[in-house]
């Protein structure tokens, strides 16, 4: 049977990474080979962070945001993680014939508001309308450009002993979306954590020049992203279950549906790898909800471990398949 693209090719798990690797080989160049969410470019001695992303979230409107807000935050965050200050955004719509104009206006309004709050300008764009059935409502693509400042930038590489700091509670976006999309009928104050992180990132860069790496925790959740970093940077990582912040209702909904919050997507969370000396400082810059959750190991390259509340250490594997609500 002919092999087909499945949802697992886009879920942040192993199959997606295999597909990305195939593409990387075809277009191989020094910048792409970094496989980072944003490319770091050098143009006339200016260092630039450049990124693109497409937004296909369902439902379009969800507790805590909508596809428009997400399209701005997501790209701003990708650009920011290079230690850059995002400045310019491109905005392209693919809209299915018959889509509600009122909804479209609502989405545009959130884009406008989020861009304003984050201090970025939408400078170019495109609209395509396709026949009914050729797209599902509306898809958005954005690209973003930011400047990396020499004085405050990410220094060095991830090294053993670096501590990992997170800026807050995990799994909110994924659980909010799931409940809204699957109409599971759970009522709660769980909201998507969707927001722009550029100002928080700037605060971190202002207090330390010993940050070795930053990443936002989107698809694949904390566990997925840590595995990507462990693989990409050829390091071992250990995190501590007791220190990973999860809001109680989010944890509850995960328990009810049999989900592991470590694998659930976020849209407003990032982690900082930082020299142990500066970890407290970064934690402070990240704000009240932040937490030191783990460290880089001198051994066990490419592997991620979780120290459980009982003190046992087990492998934290990459997500294999999307989680589904289960009864067992």
């Amino acid at each position: 049977m002919e092999e087909k693209i499945t949802l697992a090719h886009g879920n942040g798990g192993r199959r997606m990474h295999e597909l990305i690797e195939d593409l990387r080989i075809q277009f191989s160049n020094k910048i792409l080979n970094e496989l980072s969410d944003a490319a770091e470019l050098s143009i006339n001695k200016n260092r630039i962070s450049f990124s693109t992303d497409s937004y296909v979230v369902k439902p379009l409107f969800f507790p805590g945001g909508d596809i428009g807000k997400l399209a701005i935050c997501g790209t701003i965050n990708d650009v920011s993680m290079k230690g850059a200050r995002p400045l310019f955004i491109s905005l392209a719509f693919i809209i299915e014939e018959g889509f509600s104009l009122t909804q479209f206006k609502k989405i545009v309004h959130s884009i406008k508001q989020e861009a304003k709050e984050a201090g970025v300008s939408v400078v170019t764009g495109d609209i395509k309308v396709v026949e009914k059935g050729a797209a599902d409502g509306i898809f958005i693509n954005t690209a973003g450009i930011g400047i990396i400042n020499y004085a405050t930038s990410i220094g060095g590489r991830v090294k053993p002993g670096d501590l990992i700091v997170i800026n807050g509670t995990i799994a909110e976006h994924g659980m909010a979306i799931l409940n809204a999309r699957e109409k599971l009928g759970f009522k709660s104050n769980i909201k998507s954590d969707c927001r722009s992180l550029n100002l928080e990132v700037q605060r971190c860069l202002n207090v330390s020049n010993k940050i070795s790496f930053m990443r936002d925790l989107t698809r694949g959740g904390l566990a997925g992203v840590l595995n990507e970093i462990a693989g990409g940077s050829n390091i071992g990582i250990e995190i501590y279950e007791k220190d990973i912040p999860v809001r109680p209702p989010v944890k509850k909904l995960c328990d009810i549906l049999g989900f592991d919050p470590l694998y659930v997507a976020n849209e407003g969370k990032f982690i900082c790898f930082v020299d142990a000396k500066d970890a407290r400082r970064i934690k402070k810059a990240m704000g009240k909800t932040s937490q030191i959750i783990g460290r880089v190991l001198p051994s066990h390259k490419k592997e991620v471990f979780l120290e459980t509340k009982l003190g046992a250490k087990r492998l934290l594997a990459m997500l294999e398949e999307d989680q589904l609500p289960r009864i067992c």
Partner: protein
């Protein structure tokens, strides 16, 4: 074999109840459990209350491990 999570009964209307899992509310069926009253705790499995449950008391895991080692 079966995930079931305790929740508190907030309100009852015939054989349906709204339960609170702790910040997460859901309408569930009381169809297979008798004698459930408002403010009772019930175990929820696949959208049904399968039985009443008492609130778990706070317990110390490490002490339980020590006690286990004692009986060996």
């Amino acid at each position: 074999m079966c995930l079931a999570v305790p929740a508190k009964v907030k309100s009852i209307k015939r054989d349906r109840a709204v339960v609170d899992f702790g910040g997460v509310l859901k309408e569930i069926s009381l169809g297979i459990t008798s004698g459930v009253k408002k403010d009772d705790y019930v175990l929820i499995h696949a959208g049904f209350a399968i039985g009443k449950v008492k609130e778990a008391e706070a317990r110390d895991t490490l002490r339980a491990l020590e006690e286990l080692k004692k009986v060996l």
